[in-house]
């Protein structure tokens, strides 16, 4: 016998919408709000900067000037900023487990639901 889903009330639908909104904004925006989102480059400005000391040739100096950086001091922070790619192996393992675990979870639970779909669509004995 075909599964008949219950009718969801308007209040129930509104609650579901709020849950989704909180989940979306919370999970994606919270790391930014709490300052946990990484990836900021760290500047290492040098003292008494000159274009030569910053490794900029004549053509690059013209380019910097055209971009609104008239002297070496104004470009000091941008030129010396670098990412820090040192990482902990534990963090990497956590990421791998999270990614793989997520897909295993979704595929396994999906398969359970999929069998219900196929049984209802084709019949339990598979003769349709």
């Amino acid at each position: 016998m075909a599964y008949k889903p219950p009718k969801q009330s308007l209040a129930g639908q509104i609650i579901d919408v709020v849950v989704l909104l909180v989940l979306t904004v919370g999970a994606l925006y919270l790391p930014l709000y709490m300052g946990l989102a990484g990836a900021a480059k760290t500047p290492a400005p040098i003292e008494n900067p000159t274009w030569e000391a910053l490794g900029q040739n004549a053509a690059e100096q013209q380019q910097w000037a055209a971009l609104g950086f008239p002297d070496a001091a104004s470009a000091n922070e941008i030129i010396t900023a670098r990412f820090d790619y040192t990482f902990s192996w534990t963090a990497l393992i956590v990421m791998v487990v999270a990614v793989v675990g997520y897909f295993i979870l979704v595929v396994r639970l999906s398969d359970k639901e999929y069998r219900e779909v196929i049984d209802e669509r084709f019949g339990k004995d598979g003769n349709r």
């Binding site: 889903p5 989940l23 930014l32 709000y33 040739n57 690059e60 790619y85 999270a98």
Partner: protein, 464 residues
């Protein structure tokens, strides 16, 4: 792009099969071209100039695999909804729910990134004209609201307009390249950083750069959303998609060449509008105006397409009761998924107004990346459940399972690339999808009609 009135009642109305390979090409390039105007250059910041170019080509290979796989599955599951419909028929409802969320998040974040870029561009131009300190927020809000309103009222005219302004934006890149080659720039091209500082982060930088390398092409798989409207899916989908990727590889390489030659890599790696900045460096006011218009057109066209695609994915999930059915409503007069369009506006605004561009782009890329990972096992399951010869396929891609394996390896490398510097966002995003999945499976799924989730005229899948 799907016609909502038709998708709302597939039994009664079929979509018109009017599109050829050129339309498929235009659809793909239209949404993606903005990737040349902003965002790709963060790959230079993560790894240097050489790494940026390698990332561009490796990402091109990744998307070639995506196109091969998607062409086969979509030309067979020729239903509106693209990957969402594929997941429903091949893996199951929860996977489809997740794929729907991937699409919504990738496109909504891309929309937010486009709005940020427009605000940043206007601020830059205002500064050049002596009005520095422009408040960008009203322009960001106005962009999102205006495009949402356009979509609310109907999309046909706006999408037709999209094609025209995309062609202009593409031509602007070619004109900039040719102009610079023929001496229009007051500042010479300089590639000394390629030899002096080729890999500032070593080989690790090449892997790290792959993260933003995806931005060159992100969304090209949207071509397959048009499967139901293509005259000959078996020919048009692979041909149009592959032609789109080749176009983008060429445009991306030209963009890299001009920008890397005119902009110091340290600046380029964090620039908000790299092509416009390249035009500024030339000192040629005609090129500056051209690239200003090109940037506005590319971002507007992309944002418009993103609102269209994200709202339709959200609408489809509402219609299937994966989300509250309230979202599955069609406007009685404009025949658009108006509730979904309105609901996604505040989400786009929150990110456009409160998050830096690179973070917003990362959220979009991550959702796209999860979707590409899904494609690998989806392809294997598709061939396993319905082996060749058991159902009519529009197109059979060669060398299976090699493209799926290559795609999986490249996806793994890109996860690592995102992890280098943006690991927190990756974990936060996975937490979101895990919690949302549990919410769907243990609560939401009770409202879903089981038998309605499989509508293709195929035999019972093998093993079930």
């Amino acid at each position: 792009m799907s016609n909502v009135s038709a998708t709302a009642a597939p039994e009664r109305l079929g979509l018109l099969r009017v599109l050829g390979p050129a339309h498929v090409w235009a659809l793909g390039v239209g949404i993606v071209l903005v990737g040349e105007y902003m965002g790709w250059n963060f790959s230079v910041g993560k790894g240097g100039m050489i790494a940026g170019l390698v990332a561009c080509w490796v990402a091109g290979l990744l998307y070639t695999c995506v196109a091969m796989i998607d062409s086969e599955v979509t030309s067979t599951v020729a239903a509106a909804g693209g990957q969402y419909a594929q997941a429903k028929h091949i893996v199951g409802p929860l996977m489809a729910f997740n794929v729907g969320l991937f699409l919504v998040m990738a496109y909504t974040m891309l929309e937010a990134a486009n709005a940020i870029t427009i605000g940043f561009l206007l601020d830059t131009v205002a500064g050049m004209l002596g009005h520095s300190g422009l408040n960008q927020k009203p322009f960001i809000i106005l962009t999102i609201l205006a495009l949402a309103w356009l979509n609310y009222r109907g999309v046909l005219a706006s999408l037709s307009f999209n094609l025209v302004i995309t062609a202009f934006a593409f031509a602007a890149i070619i004109v900039l390249f040719l102009s610079v080659q023929f001496g229009a720039s007051a500042v010479p091209l300089d590639f000394s950083a390629v030899t002096n500082e080729p890999l500032p982060y070593g080989w690790l930088g090449i892997v790290a750069a792959l993260h933003f390398g995806l931005w060159y092409y992100l969304g090209i798989e949207g071509t397959c959303q048009a499967a139901e409207e293509v005259r000959s899916p078996a020919r048009s989908l692979p041909f149009g998609t592959m032609a789109g990727i080749m176009t983008l590889v060429i445009a991306a390489t030209l963009t890299w060449y001009v920008c890397s030659g005119l902009i110091p890599w340290e600046y380029l790696g964090s620039a908000g509008t790299p092509l416009f900045d390249a035009a500024r460096v030339t000192g040629n006011s005609g090129l500056m105006v051209l690239l200003f218009i090109g940037t506005v057109f590319a971002t507007t066209a992309s944002a418009n397409g993103c609102i269209n695609d994200a709202s339709r994915a959200w609408f489809s999930m509402g219609r299937d009761h994966y989300l509250p059915e309230w979202f599955g409503a069609v406007h009685p007069r404009f025949r658009t998924p108006y509730r979904s369009i309105v609901f996604l506006v505040p989400i786009a605004l929150i990110f456009a107004l409160g998050a830096p561009l690179d973070q917003v782009i990362t959220f979009s890329i991550l959702s796209g990346l999860l979707g590409y990972t899904f494609m690998t096992f989806n392809m294997v399951m598709f061939r396993k459940k319905w082996p060749l010869g058991t159902i009519k396929r529009g197109y059979v891609h060669p060398w299976h399972p090699l493209p799926a394996l290559i795609l999986l390896v490249l996806c793994a490398a890109t996860y690592f690339a995102v992890f280098l510097g943006y690991g927190t966002q990756l974990i936060a995003m996975l937490c979101f999808y895990i919690i949302a999945s549990l919410w769907f499976h243990f609560w939401r799924y009770r409202f879903v009609k089981r038998g309605d989730q499989f509508t293709m005229p195929w035999p019972r899948p093998q093993g079930y």
